[in-house]
Amino acid sequence: MADYKYVGKRLPRYDGMQHALAKTRYVNDLRYPDMLHMKVWRSPLISAKILNIDTSKAEVLPGVVAVVTHKQVPHNRYGAGDYPVLADEEIRYLGQEVVAVAAVDVDTAMEAVSLIQVDLEERTPLLDPFKAMEPDSIQLSPIGNFIKFDGNPYRQILKGDFESAIQEADFVVEGYYRTAAQEHCPIETQVSICQTDGMGRTHINTVTQAVFFNQGTIAAILKKPRSKVHMIGGVLGGGFGAKNDPHADHIAAVVSLYTGGRPVKWLWTREEEFVASTHRGAMHMFFKDGVMKDGRIIARSVRSIRDGGAYILTNDYVVAKHAFGVAGPYNIPNVKVISYGLLTNKRPTSSMRGFGLFQASFAFEVQMDRIAKTIGVDPWRLRFINAVHDGDTSATRAVLHNCALIEVMQAAAGRAGIRLDEELLHMASHSREEV
């Protein structure tokens, strides 16, 4: 069935006209009777010990319905078990949530937050991931600053023998690459509407990208079975990785336990997105490649350090995926990768479109041009002659199928009006055995 009826067709989006008519209802467009509004007390300090939390004035302010601290959270840990829902003993990043207030309107909630007194003992913050690696560094967590991978403080990838191969290379090309910390910036900020009904079932209108992942997380926080956490989602104003980890849902869900059945809405401001939401962590990457005169890359080593922020969250996943793919879509026989994730007193990092391989791609593709310029080979040719083919193995020795690096380069060059030489135009990604 080469020609399908619907598959492969340029049909308009299912909800295209709905968007254009502005009939798509986002969570912030929903209204419920008696809906309360939430604001939180956020730490003004980067790192501190929490001495005391005084919410007495806030609790008696007219219009305030619930004031919640870590004491009222059934289970105050999530993520890798290290991330408090509301800070209890310490502050690890600027803007960390400590107290949540639900009130009849936003102004009252903000006024209540201004009446909260949290005594903090400021600590010297640890902001540099390189310093975090040093033995005498400040330790952010009981198990140190290094993110663990099956017990190791690094994710290592070894293929062939880099150390001897680098000796045989005609050229050794090194490079340091840094990608910046970035904010996802979906135009819809974090928002959640939670209501716990008379039977103790919590209903959540959510903007998460991962409904069931968050259902599991929130069920554990509320100490309830998944079936008692009813999440309704599916429409959001952009994600880009900003809405995988819980931001508003889990705290609003806890607050909804104490509002006598009234729904509570928590809409983050744009400033809160910039100060306190998860972000893409900066990454430092050190490349060292062994290259032959004809352009074949025979050895590649990569050492990378991710500035991971205050808690573990997905740092292990991001660093691992980075390590698995950082050698690039090239058939390099000898590879040595060692990647670290370090905790720092910055707001937590997590997924952002690219998930560790944005950083890797930037590094290995600028490194490829640096090699080309160093050994005097055309940048296109360098990539074509090293490109992976079907049947090659990746750095983790997995057999590769459906390769297409050659074809996408041919297509991009063609559309850009760049005349590749014949030899490159006749290359194909199918297995090297096939003639």
């Binding site: 009826k5 994600g239 057999v399 074809e407 996408v408």
Partner: protein, 330 residues
């Protein structure tokens, strides 16, 4: 006043799904008495078009007009589980789950129709909204009639279940040996820039990106991902920085007036090329590309800057200051 132009390239790859597998998608399909179809998935649509893609797959598999196919939003009371909309996984994982669910529902449909037509289910096929006996086109029943008959007479539920995902993968703790990354997709970008060597300002004149997605279920939506990625990549290359005085938090931005996103003027006219090679595991041969399309532009732009003015800016973003300092360092 010197404006130098340069061209740069970059070629990237990216897996489908979470590294290490173990990220299932589930789907359920049920047919209404009038032959219309509800597809229940656990994947949310974050703008990439998951519901549109699943609708096209379900309509294709069930042979019903697409106008009759509805894809639900996500409600944990009714939707089956899904790991999440990220890692370029929804078209591939949820697509395969929808195909399984559609095939199971189609089998029930054929069993009911077989009774009505007095044939074996295996003899039946679908053609233009009709259940047809293969090789006997005149022996056919509209799908809606079979659905109606199933509900009120046969009291059968025409429905199907599907679930897809790679099993969790163990990799060697020391060497990483194993297959943590699946179904790699590929992309390449050609960037052209103009650099003002006196002020360090960079303008991106051209971004051509070609991405292999195995099989485009909806090429228009694939182009949208390539265009959107191009703007994201441009932002990462030239504009976006949460810590202007890294690694400190000094002068951190608190809004769109101090954290620069690309505006419509920053992004040149884009060229998106959809390349279709194949995927041995994807629905109709599809791979996922949503997460990777912002990865090839930043290196291509930095390589284009080197081509224009002969300096490597290897610390993103390539702000005018970094360019002037690099030019002065020579």
């Amino acid at each position: 006043m010197a404006r130098q132009r340069g061209t740069g390239i970059a070629a990237v790859w990216y897996p489908t799904g979470m590294s290490g597998g173990g990220d299932p998608s589930q789907a359920m399909i049920k047919m209404q008495p009038d032959g219309s179809v509800d597809v229940l998935i656990g994947s949310v649509d974050i703008g990439e078009g998951a519901r549109s893609v699943m609708r096209q797959i379900a309509a294709e598999e069930l042979g019903v007009p697409i106008e009759l196919v509805n894809v639900t939003l996500v409600d944990t009371d009714s939707s089956p589980l899904d790991t999440g909309t990220f890692a370029s996984r929804v078209t591939h994982q949820t697509g395969n789950a929808v195909i399984q669910a559609a095939q199971e529902a189609r089998q029930v449909l054929f069993e009911v129709a077989a009774g009505q037509l007095g044939v074996e289910p295996q003899q039946l096929t679908l053609q233009d909204g009709m259940v047809v006996v293969r090789d006997f086109p005149e022996q056919a029943i509209p799908i809606a009639d079979v659905a109606d008959y199933a509900v009120w007479t046969e009291r059968r539920l025409i429905a199907g279940r599907g679930s897809f995902g790679w099993a969790p993968v163990k990799v060697d703790p020391e060497t990483g040996e194993g297959e943590p990354l699946h179904n790699m997709a590929y992309g390449a970008t050609v960037a052209e820039v103009e650099v003002d060597t006196e002020t360090g300002e960079v303008k991106v004149l051209k971004l051509v990106s070609a991405y292999d997605c195995g099989k485009a279920i909806n090429p228009l939506l694939v182009e949208g991902q390539i265009d959107g990625g191009a703007a994201g990549g441009l932002g990462s290359a030239l504009l976006e920085e949460l810590h202007p005085y890294y690694p400190t938090l000094d002068h951190y931005p608190t809004g769109f007036f101090s954290y620069m996103l690309p505006t419509a003027k920053d992004v040149p006219a884009l060229d998106a090329v959809v390349v279709e090679m194949n995927s041995i595991s994807g629905p109709y041969g599809a791979k996922g590309i949503g997460e990777m399309t912002a990865n090839s532009q930043a290196p291509a732009i930095i390589n284009a800057i080197y081509d224009a003015i002969g300096v490597w800016i290897t610390d993103l973003p390539a702000t005018p200051e970094k360019i002037l300092r690099a030019l002065e360092a020579g």
